[in-house]
Point group: D2
Chain length 381, copies 4
Amino acid sequence: MGYYFLQVPGPTVVPERVMGAMGMPLLDHRGQQFAALAAEAAAQLKPIFKTEQPVIIIPASGTGAWHAAIANCLSRGDKVLIPEVGMFSVLWCKIAREMGLEVIEIAGDWRHGINASDVEKALSADKDIKAVFATHNETSTGVTSDIQAVRCAIDSAKHDALLFVDTISSLAASPYDHDGWGVDVTICGSQKGMMLPPGLAFAVISEKAKAAMDSSDLVPGYFNFTPLISASETGLYPYTPPVTLFYGLHEAGKMLNEEGVDAIVKRHEKLAVACQAAVKHWGLEIQCQDESSYSNAVTAVRVPEGVSADKFRALVLDKFNMSLAAGLGKVADKVFRIGHLGYQNPLTLMGALSGVEMGLEMFGIPHQKGGVNAAMEKLQG
Amino acid sequence: MGYYFLQVPGPTVVPERVMGAMGMPLLDHRGQQFAALAAEAAAQLKPIFKTEQPVIIIPASGTGAWHAAIANCLSRGDKVLIPEVGMFSVLWCKIAREMGLEVIEIAGDWRHGINASDVEKALSADKDIKAVFATHNETSTGVTSDIQAVRCAIDSAKHDALLFVDTISSLAASPYDHDGWGVDVTICGSQKGMMLPPGLAFAVISEKAKAAMDSSDLVPGYFNFTPLISASETGLYPYTPPVTLFYGLHEAGKMLNEEGVDAIVKRHEKLAVACQAAVKHWGLEIQCQDESSYSNAVTAVRVPEGVSADKFRALVLDKFNMSLAAGLGKVADKVFRIGHLGYQNPLTLMGALSGVEMGLEMFGIPHQKGGVNAAMEKLQG
Amino acid sequence: MGYYFLQVPGPTVVPERVMGAMGMPLLDHRGQQFAALAAEAAAQLKPIFKTEQPVIIIPASGTGAWHAAIANCLSRGDKVLIPEVGMFSVLWCKIAREMGLEVIEIAGDWRHGINASDVEKALSADKDIKAVFATHNETSTGVTSDIQAVRCAIDSAKHDALLFVDTISSLAASPYDHDGWGVDVTICGSQKGMMLPPGLAFAVISEKAKAAMDSSDLVPGYFNFTPLISASETGLYPYTPPVTLFYGLHEAGKMLNEEGVDAIVKRHEKLAVACQAAVKHWGLEIQCQDESSYSNAVTAVRVPEGVSADKFRALVLDKFNMSLAAGLGKVADKVFRIGHLGYQNPLTLMGALSGVEMGLEMFGIPHQKGGVNAAMEKLQG
Amino acid sequence: MGYYFLQVPGPTVVPERVMGAMGMPLLDHRGQQFAALAAEAAAQLKPIFKTEQPVIIIPASGTGAWHAAIANCLSRGDKVLIPEVGMFSVLWCKIAREMGLEVIEIAGDWRHGINASDVEKALSADKDIKAVFATHNETSTGVTSDIQAVRCAIDSAKHDALLFVDTISSLAASPYDHDGWGVDVTICGSQKGMMLPPGLAFAVISEKAKAAMDSSDLVPGYFNFTPLISASETGLYPYTPPVTLFYGLHEAGKMLNEEGVDAIVKRHEKLAVACQAAVKHWGLEIQCQDESSYSNAVTAVRVPEGVSADKFRALVLDKFNMSLAAGLGKVADKVFRIGHLGYQNPLTLMGALSGVEMGLEMFGIPHQKGGVNAAMEKLQG
């Protein structure tokens, strides 16, 4: 009974306006009316990515964008440098290897962002590296890396590696600037800051990445950027696009631009700061150990040794109709994650934090009461 | 951005399931498919009112049910006894007078429930009184009266006045038992505990009230119970019924019965107790001065002398996307009201209370911090 | 399976845009956001009624508008002149009598519109008549009366009776001009040309009718125009308005104005002419015997002696997922009615007429094949 | 204004029930509630494919299923035999080549189904062929091939090639039996007979195809069947599944099973026969020259030499709010296609055919009037 607190970092809550748009009758996807809507939907995304390049829309889950980026811009045997920040950077390595790339992984502890000087060192040592894969916000740990620092590292090493950035859970939550930061391939998904259901992935590529497409020997197949880039402008897709998700994208894009991407980031930052204040007050440990890398999108909270984070989450779901996210990979059952991105506001966050605080009490996890008050102090300012 | 906290005591938040049901294509209202649905929708309401009588569904706002009850069961010049408990009991007096009844009002201070011994005295003094009009939950003040005590008062006075009860904001929130408590006319509306949009009113009448219909000399017109009683069973209405609201009623009734009316009341009680604990902790005054009359549906909170409750509400709406309800009548601008009925749960309440606590701070209303903690203590139990 | 052909003259098919609007979250009905929307929704209706007067919105079925019109503007014992055109004019008489009016009925055969010279005669003979009640389009028979002729009749008789017009099934289907035609009280409902679900009624009154309100001794109660007139401008209603229907009204009004009321009428006329051509080709009798009174909204078709129109309708519903409307009152089971108003276009009509033609064949009703071709000839022009 | 006749062979009209289901709030895709729904959604599809194998659900457009099928089950350099039946079989060749397969194409004239004896001959001549790719219903031409005959051809040739069948526009429209017919890989999409928006693809594979997966040296990546097969049973996907489309799939699957797949096929057959009767009566040429290969899903109609089919379609869209499908590839502008699959019934077809007949007249395409009558004769039976 009552509003379901979907506090996972994707899928996030879809706004009623977007749901309403997706309920309209399906159009012929080859007709002018749909084409105009689809082209406008794509154009609206440029300020969100801060780019003048066309935004490529891929009918797939966000994961598809990883495959797409590699298959379009790289070749079998290419060396790529991937700093480990958490579960999703690890999965990216796995995919790269499956696709025949040689992966140089920079080990990480899942509690800090990318170390730019490590990147610089690795690049300096190996001029053959074709690309650096950076996860902007690591969804599994709530760690946001400094992409500008990675860019500087590449430049300092006078290296011409391409910079690939996964913004799946950072876009429209953390500051991001595809063109300004000199990113070559940005990838994203629909079900996080975009406030859409899952089902669409996005990519933006630089002129340099476009040139790299010509020499790629992989088979992008379904994910071929060439027709999708032209579709971004014409609205005419090489295969049947998911019409209702495009309706949603059109409306969500309108909403994002109405609020403005900078205002959106500020809203997320305020919510994140409040959430983190609560966790600290409770005396629980935040998975991210570097405050400057705290995520605007999700906060991963460590439970004390011997406590099952998953059983705690089950109690919270049962008692309070709230889904917290599970720990993944090596932090499975050791952390729970509080998503605070997308269609969220101070009171939904306070409802969520209250549910966590009550849950801690009911589950018997030692904590200092008053986290919600600490959060409110941050939100009042 | 984000969930809108509609914390007014009606209209309340409509569940997604109910919204979905109301989105289905319109049926011919004279066809069998609609008739079956409408009949089932009415039948489902019996356990909610705790009655074996047909539930009369009136295509009108809840206010229409007041007019309907009077016009069907009473006559010009009839004397009715109306204890004043707040704005809505006052409006009921006004309507009764407009319709030609003679109203004996028992003055009240808007801070206590109906005084049953006053009712008994008044009835004992005047055997001509035809009906007692009792407001079960006074929405404007958050005061719930003891209907069983009123019933006893009538019985003790050995009086045969009819008992009319307005349950517009109490049904499916406070305990209620039309048959068991010997109520003659119960009226209700759709947009509160029923979790529907406004647009439907309800009535349940006793055999005695049905008999009174025969001698009424008023003209019920649109509100004539006779065809509506039969429509309750057949699903065939004397005029075009609001088809989509019936779809919603059918689904909402299902949800109410799935949860069970007693469980629903308990959920409301828990939320109410938590809300009232917060208000007390803040050191603000609850409009209702008798703890045993605190409302399960809404809590009216007095602001300090010289403070504008309406400006406070405006700030809360602006900053926190939450609508609190205004004070009405003689408490206009002196109270704000926190609705906690319908499709609500602990976390939506905690979001709401957090918004109030932050609003108090931001607006500069003196209060003791920690109301939200006090509420959580009640909700954890 | 597939689109449900709801070919009854109300409720009519609700456009997806309107359904979408009604799915948005409920607002506080006392807040500024709702008030602005409600005021705009009312203002948008002026061009539809062709009036500069405020459009009064009544939270009730269309039938409620009859009660409202009488109770606000007339008094017990007033004489009213009501020409019989069909079932709904008969019901209007019944209501008028119930409310204490003296009804002078001009008998009719249910197959012709109002005879204006009869009206003139009756008025000339009785200067005490307070109002003439005219049904613009008689929904039960598909007969549209000439309201301008009735106005002339009143003027020729130099009579100062008020002119009440029921446009429930004519507005936004047939030409109508409240101000230009000198109508005093126009009433309407939401579920026909307005393309909304049932649940709202409308009234527009002239200055003369407003003056008449002052001397009325009836009790309008729920239907009191005074606060509703002011609500039409402010958007603040005297009782909780049906919020979701107002959302729908706001969107439907936008759609009506986008198309333009004159274009809407032309669309309806074209569909009506096509439908009537099909019926004539089949050799079936149209209930309306005067071609100049054929309805733009609905065509009532007589079945041969001995045939049950209702059984025919049942077969059509069963085989073709189409609801035709039943005959009412004295033409029950003798006619079926094809609604062609609201959210309809040439192809929905052709689907409907094909269903009728196939149904006639399957049910064994003698007819000349090719009605659908006759209809297409009219629609191609 | 009015119902939009979406008469293209995909995307097709989505039922209101399905749209309603897709409007429900998003669930955590890793939670038990979603997993149960997703598993049930997959299980419900087994009777539609007539298989005991798990139905693999791929979050992509139908085209993605082609890529998936190849990448999972075949290897670089494998020979595949592809009979040309129209545009989509040609595209399949193109994709196969891009992915490094060697394609042996059996030329076709786009007007006949697969010639099984050609298949047998080709297979007999080359024992190295690894798979035969058959398009069950060629959407671009409205030609349905006999899959059982292809199976027999393989068997007669005593060949162990795998049989891949594209049922994108045939499933739930034409008879199909994955297990019974010995198909190895069936692929499908959501936006046709499934009555869903585009965005999901499907595959069912035989034990033999499963074995072939082990020796494949292609990189399925995003399309890897192994985790998707297990997801089909558990409801837990390897990446975020498109939650709302799964809601829709769950509801659409319920509807398909309520009607029953055999009844669905019969409904489609009846509509197809009626449509083809109309076209023949008009004297226009059906693209498919073999009556036994007429499609249950779509009828492609040739326009006379010198006439632009696309301008005709534009007129029909403009005048009648109906989208007909364009000719593709070598029949571009030479044919228009009437889709009659999915959520369609006799009256939507009759509306559509009436629009075509009126359009032919208005556009000046010579034809014999009365096609709609010919269609009705087939539908009355």
